[in-house]
Amino acid sequence: MADARSTSRRVLAAVPLVLVCAFLVFPLLIVVLSSFSDRNSFRFPPDGWSLRWYGQVFENAQWLQSLSVSAQLVLIVVPLVVILGTLGGYAVGAGEFPGRRVLALIFLAPIAVPAVMLGLALLHQLQGAGLVGTPVALVLAHLLVTFPFCVRVAAVSAAGIDPRLNRAARSLGASPLRAFLTVTLPLMRPGILAAAFLGAVISLGEVAVSVFVAGASGVTVPVRVYSAVQVQLEPTIAAVSTLLLAASVLVIALLDRFLNVSRLL
C-alpha cells in the first residue's frame, strides 16, 4: 500500500513537469504540423497532408536568397565569434590581472541591453559610415549578439582548468604562447565547441538586431519570416520555419554528441 501511495505521488508530482513541457513544445509542434498541410489555411486539424509548401519554398527566388544569406552568415560569424569568445573567455575565466571581474561584466553587458537598443545604436553608427544593408553590418550585429553567450561558456570551461598544468608547462620551458596553445586551448575544447554551436544556433535565429541593419539586400531567413508574418500568414512560412527549426535541432543534437550540454550551461 505504501508503494502504491508513493507511485501515485510520483505520478502526481510529474503532472506540473509534463504540463510545462507541453506548453514549451506545443507552438513549435503546431508550426511543424501546419507546414505539412495540403491547404492554404491554418485549420486544425489539417484536412490532408502534403509537401507542396516545401516545394514552393525551393522554387521561390526570395526564400532561396535568404537561405543562402543565412548560411553564409553562419559560416562567417561562427569562426569569428569562436575566436573572440575563446580569447575573452580565457581572459575572464583563467586570467590573473587587475580588473578581470569588471571585464567579465563588460563582456556580458550586451545581454543586459535591450536588443531594440543594440539595433538602434548599430543602425545609427553604421548609417554614418554608409554600411547599413552591407554584409559588414549583419556580421557585426550577429557577432555582438552571440559574443556574450560564447564568452560565458568559454569562461566556464577556462575557469575549470587546473592552473598547475599551465605552470608545469612553463617550468618545463614552454613559452607562454606555447603553453596556451598546447595546454590551455585543448583543455578548453568543450567550451570552445559549445561556443561554436551556441553561436551557430543564435545566429541562425537572430532577428531583433538584424532587422535594424539588414537593409534590402541582407535579408536573412528570420528577417524575411519577420516581414512575411506581418503581411499575411501562409504555409510557406511554416515550411521555412520548420527548416530553420530542423537546422537548430541538428546543431543541438551534434552538440549533445560532443559534450554534456546540461553541465555547461
Binding site: L17, P110, Q125, V207, I237
Partner: protein, 311 residues
C-alpha cells in the same frame, strides 16, 4: 549562459599579495589572460561601447520638423518622453508585463528545473533538457509564428473549444493581451529554467534526506530547505527574465500587432516607422535606466531574503 559569476578561480600567484610591489603589478598586466583580453575588448568597444555612446549623443540632439537631428545639446527629447503619455506610459506598461512574466516564469521553472537537477535517468533528462531549451534555440520569429497559428480563428485552441461545444464562434484570441503574455513567457521561460537548475543542482541531497528523516513533509521540506537554498538561482533568473521582458519587441509585434503599449515596440516604431531616431534613442535610455534600477531592486530584495533565511 546564466548570469551567475564564473566559478571561483584558485589563486595562482605564489607569495602573499602584500609583498607584491608596483613592478609585480605591471607584470600582472602581462599575464597571458590580459593579452587575450585585448582583441575581444577592442571588438566590444567598436561594436558596443562606441555605438551606445553615439546613441546617447543622438538622444541629446534637438530635431527639426522632419525629425532630423540638429546640432546642439539639450534634454528636449527626454522631456518629451516623460510628458507624452504614449511614450512614458509604454515604459510603465512594460514594467507591469515584466513583473507578471518574471513571476510566472519563476513558478513554472521549478518543476522542470527540479527534474533536471535531481532526476537520475540520463535519457529522460536529455529529453526534458532538449524540450526546456527548445524555445531558446528556436528563432523568436518561429515561436511567434507558432503562437499566431495556435491562437488564430481556425487554430487548435478555437477548434478545440468549438468541438467541446464551449463556444459557437471563434474567439478573437490574437487581440487579447493574454496571448502576448503567454508568448513572452514561452520565449523567456528557458532562461529561468537554466539559472534555477544550476542552483538546484548545487543543493546537497543529504539536506533533503535529513529534513525528511526529521519528519518534515515534502511541502515543508520544499518551503524550508529547497526554496531558500535556490534563492540565488531564483533571483538571477528573475533578473534575467525581467530585463529581457522590458526590451522585448519582436514577439509582441508578431503575435499581437503594432498597436500595443510596450516600450520595445514604441522604440522600434519611433525609429523605423516615424523615423524619429533621437526620440527613439531617448526612450531607449529611459527604458535601460528603469530596467537597471528595477533589476537592482530585485537583487537587493533577494539579498534581504537570503539574509533572512540565514538568520
Amino acid at each position: 549562459m546564466t548570469h551567475q559569476g564564473a566559478r571561483p578561480v584558485p589563486a595562482v600567484e605564489p607569495g602573499p599579495p602584500a609583498r607584491r610591489g608596483l613592478r609585480n603589478r605591471a607584470a600582472a598586466f602581462r599575464h597571458p589572460g590580459a593579452l587575450a583580453a585585448v582583441v575581444p575588448s577592442v571588438f566590444l568597444v567598436g561594436a558596443f561601447v562606441v555605438p551606445l555612446a553615439g546613441l546617447l549623443v543622438l538622444s541629446l540632439r534637438p530635431t527639426d520638423a522632419l525629425n532630423n537631428p540638429l546640432p546642439g545639446v539639450g534634454l528636449d527629447q527626454y522631456r518629451e518622453v516623460f510628458t507624452t503619455s504614449y511614450l512614458w506610459g509604454s515604459v510603465v506598461e512594460s514594467l507591469g508585463l515584466a513583473v507578471r512574466v518574471s513571476l510566472t516564469c519563476a513558478v513554472l521553472a521549478y518543476p522542470v528545473a527540479w527534474f533536471l537537477a535531481r532526476s537520475p535517468g540520463r535519457t529522460s533528462r536529455t529529453i526534458v533538457f532538449t524540450i526546456a531549451l527548445s524555445p531558446l534555440l528556436t528563432s523568436e520569429v518561429v515561436r511567434s509564428f507558432g503562437w499566431r497559428i495556435v491562437m488564430s480563428g481556425e487554430g487548435p485552441v478555437n477548434s478545440t473549444l468549438q468541438a467541446l461545444g464551449l463556444i459557437d464562434e471563434s474567439l478573437p484570441l490574437l487581440r487579447s493581451p493574454w496571448t502576448v503574455f503567454l508568448a513572452v513567457v514561452h520565449v523567456l521561460l528557458p532562461f529561468a529554467i537554466i539559472t534555477l537548475t544550476a542552483s538546484l543542482t548545487a543543493i546537497d541531497g543529504s539536506l533533503l534526506r535529513a529534513s525528511a528523516s526529521l519528519g518534515a513533509s515534502r511541502i515543508r521540506t520544499f518551503l524550508r530547505v529547497v526554496l531558500p537554498l535556490s534563492a540565488p538561482g531564483l533571483v538571477a533568473g528573475t533578473v534575467l527574465v525581467f530585463s529581457l521582458t522590458m526590451g522585448i519587441y519582436v514577439t509582441p509585434l508578431l503575435v499581437g500587432g503594432a498597436n500595443q503599449q510596450l516600450a520595445g515596440l514604441r522604440i522600434q516604431n519611433e525609429a523605423m516607422v516615424s523615423f524619429d531616431q533621437p526620440r527613439a534613442a531617448a526612450l531607449s535610455f529611459v527604458l535601460l535606466v528603469v530596467t537597471l534600477l528595477a533589476c537592482a531592486a530585485i537583487t537587493a530584495l533577494g539579498r534581504v531574503w537570503e539574509r533572512g533565511n540565514r538568520g
